[in-house]
């Protein structure tokens, strides 16, 4: 894939014309499918992994407008491999978790006690409260601009585009980029607060 053609595709996508990108998507999937099938064994799984990777590709090069790699198709293949590994790890984790749940359920049936069930429910509620608290506190730490962007995004009646002029962005793409960066900052803050809150909860037990 010539650099110039790829740059044009990304440039058009940034301007809102996604058609050339969709053509590139089809061509790349056709080119990579044999390699992806070696990993996933099924076309549907290969398609899923490919789409997840292309969403990240979109984030990096259309939203964040990072410098394009020398070989976009090769780069996307590596992204797909990353995505497949992450998916595999998640599936294994869920399988282990499901096994644990089944064993716990069997144990509970044998050693049935109302206190165990109540304790489990309490733990779940506590986990839910922690997550909600971490998110609320993290939102408060954002800059006023970021907070406005994230709050507008939550409100279905408001459109993000309406913030472009009031917040002083030269174009809509810059605003989309800012929203992406705010989200990343929010995730990091939630992570820090979750750790702090979990430690505090453990200490208070």
């Amino acid at each position: 894939m010539a650099d110039e053609r790829m740059e044009q595709i990304i440039s058009k996508a940034i301007q809102g014309n996604e058609l050339p990108f969709n053509t590139f998507l089809k061509e790349t999937f056709t080119a990579l499918l044999p390699k992806l099938l070696v990993l996933t064994k099924s076309r549907d799984e290969a398609k899923e992994v490919f789409i997840i990777s292309m969403q990240k590709f979109w984030e990096c090069f259309v939203i964040k407008q990072q410098k394009l790699p020398h070989n976009s198709i090769g780069y996307i293949y590596i992204m797909c491999k990353n995505a497949w590994l992450l998916q595999k790890r998640e599936q294994e984790r869920i399988a282990v978790l499901n096994n644990e749940i089944i064993h716990t359920q069997v144990d509970n049936q044998i050693n049935e006690s109302p206190e165990n069930s109540a304790f489990d429910r309490e733990m779940e509620a506590e986990e839910h409260t922690l997550k909600h608290k971490a998110l609320t506190m993290a939102l408060e730490t954002l800059s006023p601009k970021c907070k406005t962007i994230m709050e507008t995004d939550l409100d279905p009646k408001n459109q993000l585009k309406s913030l472009q002029e009031p917040l002083g962005y030269t174009n809509y793409q810059a605003l989309v980029q800012a929203k992406y960066n705010c989200k990343k900052r929010l995730v990091k803050k939630v992570y820090e607060l979750l750790n702090q809150l979990k430690e505090t909860t453990l200490l208070n037990r």
Binding site: Q15, F29, I78, L135
Partner: protein, 245 residues
């Protein structure tokens, strides 16, 4: 960058699928040998999920659905694939029949260039000659005057005349259309396509179909059939007209 920040940067790279093959191997090894790092990954993934669920991205979801349909339709096309020798045979037979018909009728069929010329000559969306009775300084008269210059081949004058019309003015889309076409006529294809792209994306959408029509025709002129087919239906039967998709 301290150790914690380095770990978070690495986790971010992993979750953004940006690790190289070598880095992936090293990352997977770290997960199995460093339980603290494994815990960090789990908490970070949890944080991402909390934020993603709270701020569901409908555009992201729509894009996923759209791409899913595109790749599914591509699969259906592949399944309908006819072996090349059949296509060759059918094409040869068709050409033979056509040649006999042409010989018998003594007529030349319109080729693709004729069809493209016919499509341009339709002047779709360019009915500015019907603008009447407006004050000569009104925006609509300016558009009409620009159109007359376009018809006379004074493309540079059209570009100059319309360059100061801004988004807030009525008939901005008409100005964009005439500028785009004039840019193409003066050989500035890239600027022409960019102008027509912005017209396609304009919020009112009033001239978006017309812009797609001309963008398709420009690609056809350039010989880029693939790009043209994004906007136009180009029947293989030379007797059929080119149409907007």
């Amino acid at each position: 960058m301290d150790a914690e920040e380095k770990d978070i940067a690495l986790i971010n790279k992993y979750l953004d699928f940006q690790l190289s093959e070598k880095e992936l191997v090293s990352f997977e090894k770290k997960l199995t040998t460093d339980t603290n790092f494994f815990q960090k990954l789990q908490t970070y993934q949890q944080s991402e999920t909390i934020v993603t669920q709270a701020f569901e991205n409908s555009k992201h979801q729509k894009r996923t659905e759209q791409w899913d349909k595109i790749l599914d339709s591509e699969e259906k096309l592949e399944k309908k694939h006819i072996p090349w020798r059949w296509i060759g045979g059918i094409a040869a037979g068709f050409i033979l029949v056509l040649s006999i018909w042409q010989f018998n009728n003594g007529q030349q069929e319109p080729d693709i260039n004729t069809r493209i010329a016919d499509a341009w000559n339709k002047k779709i969306g360019l009915s500015y000659n019907i603008i009447r009775g407006e004050n000569k300084d009104s925006i609509r008269q300016i558009i009409r005057s620009a159109f007359e210059k376009y018809e006379n081949g004074d493309y540079q004058k059209v570009i100059t005349k319309l360059k100061d019309i801004n988004q807030t003015q009525e008939a901005y889309e008409d100005a964009l259309l005439l500028r785009g076409l004039s840019l193409y006529r003066t050989g500035n294809t890239t600027a022409a396509l960019q102008t027509l792209d912005s017209l396609i994306q304009h919020p009112t959408g009033r001239k978006s179909y017309v812009a797609k029509w001309y963008e398709g025709l420009i690609y056809l002129d350039e010989g880029n059939l693939k790009a043209a087919r994004q906007f136009l239906e180009i029947p293989s039967d030379n007797n059929q007209e080119i149409k907007l998709k």
